[in-house]
Amino acid sequence: MLNRRDMIKGICAVAGASTAVPYCTASAADNKVSQLHGAKQPKRVVFFLQSQGFSDDNCTVKGIKSGKSLKSKDLPVFIDPLSPHRDKLTIIQGLHGKHTSPAHSAYYGCLGGYRRNKSTPFDITIDCALSKVLPEAPVPLLSVGMESLNRMKQVPIFHATSAWGPGDKASMICDPTFLYRIMFGSVATGKQRSTYDENSKMLDFIAKTSTQSARTLPESARQKLKPYRDISAFRDSVSTVSESLKAYMPEFDEKYSAPQHETDWHDAMLDLTIAALKAGLTNVATINSGCGEFYGSWEGLGINPSGHSLGHLSMTSDIWTRIRQYNMRMLSKLVQALEETPEGNGTMMDNTLIVYTSNNADKQHTNGASWPFMTLGNFGGTMQEGHYVKVENDRPINSFYATLLEAAGNPVEHFNMGGAYEKYDTGKGSLRELLT
């Protein structure tokens, strides 16, 4: 029988060969977090992926050696807005994703650590894998996308970076008004509520009539109509946390209804992600700035070029500096929001890890040889923070993902490497230098 977690995952699934190839070589996927780490424990993780690249230059701190603290160091201009959070920041360089053949975007290969493929994920991605081992929440993964205003309107749901398994894509929601309605429709008032109710009635009618239609079909065909019947599952799951949602519901203001620029909607997406985390709607979020592809638009920052051509600019150009700083301000806002929310004996941030990187390694036309990451937080005391780490020995991004799984209480030898680790990974398991 399906549990709620599976049911909700199902609403985001796309047809495909859904063979459950194990993503790890040890431990069952559904192990709950052990109590190894004392009172604190890893509870939630947020991935922030920027399109087009994130280069070593963007996060190289002058005069620092691997393993040393960032405390008294100046951060490069690109990530300077994170300066107030230096004690929580870890900069990780030296990883590679050559086997992902990124070039423009590695798509699912970014969080999966396998060969780029836009259409079909070859296996589970790390955000989904962590969702299976972190504490359960009504929505196992909230993936949001940020793009040009037009694109966000026209492509409210997209698939590019997250997957539950081979061929099993997880949805990315790109329209904040759509996400707002889903999240808060049942507890909202006014037009948001009435639209929610209208849609609910319509979906129920569709589900009812499709069931009637399915009765006359053979079993094999009835399966094809299952999505009709599942259509309201997401809505039902959200209603289980409606009270706490009410407490964190942002105002549906002009930022949503009449955005001046796409950045208004980007900000709205961040607000909704924060609200979802605070309300306990989800414990895993993936923010895709550029929707996991190789486009993107930031008119709101006074940047006129948009789309693919942005990738032709240097990662240290003025335009990319402004985009990067905007990313960092978002991360800063996220950290602050979690820090001001009590949880246990501390704050939500104490049990959180934020991971920043690009879905395309270091630049647009890249071979993935260099793939920097940054993390914020110590993930319930399991991960180092406030350090610069240069990973030695040519280790792949998969080793970082294995580290995250170990920190979450589910150690694995390799994450999604299959037989490739002999060629692409000189080591095994986690990056010890990142763990406490």
Binding site: C12, A13, V14, A15, A17, S18, T19, A20, V21, K98, H99, S101, A103, R115, K118, S119, T120, N150, R151, Q154, V155, P156, I157, H159, K169, S171, F178, E198, N199, K201, M202, L203, F205, I206, T209, S210, S213, L217, P218, S220, A221, K224, L225, P227, Y228, D230, I231, A233, F234, E293, Y295, H308, S309, H312, H365, N367, G419, E422, K423, Y424
Partner: protein, 797 residues
């Protein structure tokens, strides 16, 4: 050695024993626990299980593609190989049952895994006659959008005299330039536009409905029922789309500027960048101004208009007209009584609760999401024959025939035949299919789509080119300008294919060898001038730099009237316009036969098979291996570091020396020698310069264009070639290649891969093609009247 039976000979070894015998005879010498050639130990694999299915998939792949046993070793008989492969597939299906099943063999990329020789010979006997598993075929997202478009857009009926003019039933445009990402999108209200001044205005200027159902991004055929179903999140978006379309139908366009909406007769529009509104000149600076609207505004009729004429709520009679109207448009049939009553009741409830407009929108949306609007049902009806097959029911036949050739519901004659009970037999289908094929007034966009997916040239705009590498080959267009030219190039190949199809003689041969090209000429330039004067402004800049060597323009008065067209054909690709006038921008040009030779030498195909920086010999070679030779190449192992050495001054051939290394060459020999002859062209499809009688690349290196056909499966084809032209001509004259083309057509029109049971269908289709002088019409008619098309067999759960 032969392990199995030919059907009238020896008895076959049963199941597992046969598999074991095959492995012992052909595999264990090299792949036992000790030798483990290539690191693969088949002995320790044991029987197929979920945990070793990845390894067994490799076995299936290697043996199907005749990679194993190696060519230097003793080969199994065709039948033994087939039995072994089928056994592995069966075991994989059983072992993966609880993990979602094994479907790889059903994907279009694996179509060639069935032995060609078995399909085009009579080796296999006593198999059941052809049929297709009963199924629901998801309506292609493009076809679904056409259904919506036909509800809202006023587009004229197709006029064969103007093949480039956007017409009713045409696919909604896919354009990179207009949407940046090449999205499939229906812009509501765009039928009111006669033109566009600024490309960027298009996506921003209209509310639009986008294709939301997933599509494969793979190369090749895209539309197999097994690949897709409509998912829950797609359903959520389809709801949004449905509401947008209904709103447009009920209250009209919200995107047309208010001043026009209020009183369209008050203003006139010009094409030169200004318009007169209320007697005053206005510029096109604002986004709406980017669109040049037609004078007056005529909405497409729907029963909503009658309902909206008064303030009253819709009457029962009005809803009894509205619901069948929508039902028919979306599902191709009338609603059953129960459906009609249920739907009307729902609309009435919603209208009461939400008011007239909102109630109609919410109340009618479910019709746009009806399962039969999104799926084509193919279950068949009647008593099964002795093989368990049933023929498609009349309404299923009507939808299947229409869906095979068009994006529209069955045309009136097909509907009449259905109503009169004249759509029951193979002869009935032959009559209707022949009629549609012969009727030039019926647009059949799915035929062109087949050639796009077969050749893959339409992917050219998706290849992101590096600006520096473009400049290195004297292409200075960037951004939208470059994208626009990519669209021109694709359109040009479309038109060339339509031109060849109109003649319908030796179609594949012509497509592979013609030295004629359709090129877009800037309309303001006089015809008498030599071609080089057009160079920068037209797609000709993608053909060559040394334009003076082009032949003079040929005077063509072809059946499709390329010279007679008054309206630019290209508008169809990215403008939903019907009323721009002006001289034709298209011309047929005969290039020297030493420079152009069919589709594979068109810039669109060459660019679609290139990468950001340079030629992609592997992609080109792979295309020939798969689409012309009917072979295959195993999936790239994850351990392959698919990057060439970074030596920008060296030739591609030299840099590809790494693929000739031992572990790579076994697969690359099937591709590289077929792709490297195309080094006569650079990565944007220009014929490379000749210096002192020899071609040179952009670094001045002499170009080696030699190649070879290796292990083609048709011995006469194998051997060395001097260049792409010799390669193409040899392939174009091959019957084997023709048969492979027929296999691809089969897959496209059946929506599935062929099996050994389909051999009679394939052979008949090839025969029909040959008997009719290489006629595509004859080939399609043969396929659509075959048992494979007409019969369904229930799927066992």
């Amino acid at each position: 050695m032969m392990l199995a039976t030919t059907g009238d000979g020896d008895s076959a070894l049963a199941g597992e024993t046969f598999q074991q015998a095959f492995i012992e005879n052909y595999c264990v010498d090299c792949h036992d626990g000790e030798t483990k050639a290539g690191g693969f130990d088949i002995e320790s694999l044991q029987s197929v299980t979920a945990s070793n299915s990845v390894e067994w998939q490799k076995v299936w792949e290697q043996v199907s593609l005749k990679e194993m046993p190696p060519r230097t070793e003793e080969q199994p008989d065709h039948l033994d190989r087939m039995h072994f492969v089928n056994g592995v597939i069966e075991d994989l299906q059983k072992a993966s049952k609880d993990q979602g099943g094994f479907h790889e063999n059903l994907l279009p990329t694996k179509g060639n895994y069935v032995d060609h020789q078995l399909l085009f010979s009579d080796i296999v006997k006593e198999v059941d006659p052809p049929s297709t598993p009963s199924r629901m075929w998801r309506i292609h997202p493009a076809a679904y959008l056409v259904k919506l478009k036909e509800l809202v857009h006023n587009t004229p009926k197709y006029n064969p005299k103007y093949p480039g003019q956007l017409a009713s039933g045409d696919p909604v445009m896919v354009s990179k330039i207009m949407t940046d990402t090449g999205d499939l999108r229906l812009s509501l209200g765009s039928d009111q536009v006669m033109g566009i001044r600024n490309g960027s205005g298009w996506p921003n200027g209209f509310p639009s409905v986008r294709q939301v159902q997933s599509l494969s991004d793979e190369r090749g055929l895209q539309d197999f029922p097994v690949m897709y179903q409509v998912t829950s999140d797609e359903m959520q978006l389809l709801v949004t789309n449905a509401k947008a379309v209904l709103k447009h139908m009920i209250v009209g366009s919200v995107d047309v500027p208010d001043y026009m909406w209020r009183d369209p007769e008050k203003f006139t529009l010009y094409r030169i960048g200004t318009m007169i509104v209320d007697g005053k000149k206005r510029s096109f600076a604002d986004r709406e101004g980017c669109h040049l609207y037609i004078k007056g505004y005529q909405r497409k009729y729907s029963p909503f208009m009658d309902i909206m004429e008064t303030e009253e709520l819709p009457t029962q009679a009005q809803l009894e007209k509205l619901v069948p109207f929508l039902f028919h448009a979306l599902t191709g049939r009338d609603p059953r009584v129960e459906e009609l009553n249920q739907q009307i009741s729902f609309i009435q409830t919603e209208v009461k609760a939400l008011g007239k407009v909102e109630g109609l929108i919410v109340g009618c949306a479910p019709i746009l999401l009806h399962p039969e609007a999104l799926y084509r049902y193919e279950f068949g009806s009647g008593e099964p024959d002795r093989y368990g097959r049933v023929m498609l029911a009349g309404d299923e036949l009507a939808n299947s025939i229409a869906g095979a050739l068009t994006y529209m519901s069955p045309d009136p004659q097909l509907q009449s035949a259905l109503k009169e009970g004249k759509l029951k037999t193979r002869e009935d289908v032959l009559r209707e299919v022949t009629r549609i094929m012969e009727d030039g007034s019926i647009r059949k966009p799915r035929i062109l789509r087949f050639f796009q997916e077969y050749f893959d040239y339409h992917r050219a705009p998706l290849v992101c080119k590096d600006t520096k590498s473009l400049k290195a080959v004297q292409v200075h267009d960037t951004g939208n300008q470059y994208n626009l030219k990519m669209n021109y190039l694709v359109s040009e190949t479309d038109r060339l294919i339509e031109f060849v199809l109109a003649a319908d003689r030796r179609v594949l041969h012509e497509l592979l060898t013609t030295n004629e090209c359709v090129v877009r000429i800037r309309p303001t330039v006089k015809e008498e001038k030599p071609f080089h004067t057009y160079n920068n402004a037209t797609s000709l800049s993608f053909y060559n730099n040394t334009v003076t060597r082009y032949g003079k323009r040929q005077s063509q008065t072809s059946e499709i009237g390329i010279e007679d067209i008054e309206r630019p054909i290209f508008i169809r690709e990215y403008w939903a316009s019907t009323s721009v006038t002006g001289p034709s921008p298209w011309e047929m040009v005969a290039f020297p036969t030493t420079e152009r030779c069919g589709i594979l030498t068109q810039p669109s195909w060459l660019i679609a098979h290139s990468d950001a920086m340079e030629n992609h010999a592997v992609l080109r070679g792979r295309w020939i291996r798969e689409r012309l030779l009917g072979g295959g190449v195993p999936e790239v192992p994850i351990t392959v570091d698919a990057v060439l050495p970074d030596e920008p001054k060296e030739t591609l051939r030299h840099r590809m020396r790494v693929t000739r290394e031992n572990e790579c060459w076994r697969c690359h020999q099937k591709m590289d020698p077929l792709g490297l002859p195309f080094e006569v062209f650079n990565h944007v499809g220009k014929f490379r310069k000749i210096k002192k009688g020899k071609q040179i690349d952009e670094n001045g290196n002499p170009v080696d264009t030699s190649g070879e056909i290796i292990a083609s499966g048709a011995q006469a084809l194998d051997g060395k070639v001097e260049d792409a032209f010799e390669l193409i001509h040899r392939l174009a004259n091959s019957e084997h290649v023709e048969q492979v083309f027929v296999r691809h057509a089969f897959r496209y029109w059946m929506g599935r891969n062929e099996t050994i049971n389909d051999a009679p269908t394939l052979q008949a289709a090839h025969q029909a093609y040959q008997d009719n002088g290489g006629s595509m019409k004859a080939l399609i008619i043969s396929l659509m009247t075959s048992d494979s098309f007409l019969y369904r067999k229930p799927v066992q759960n």
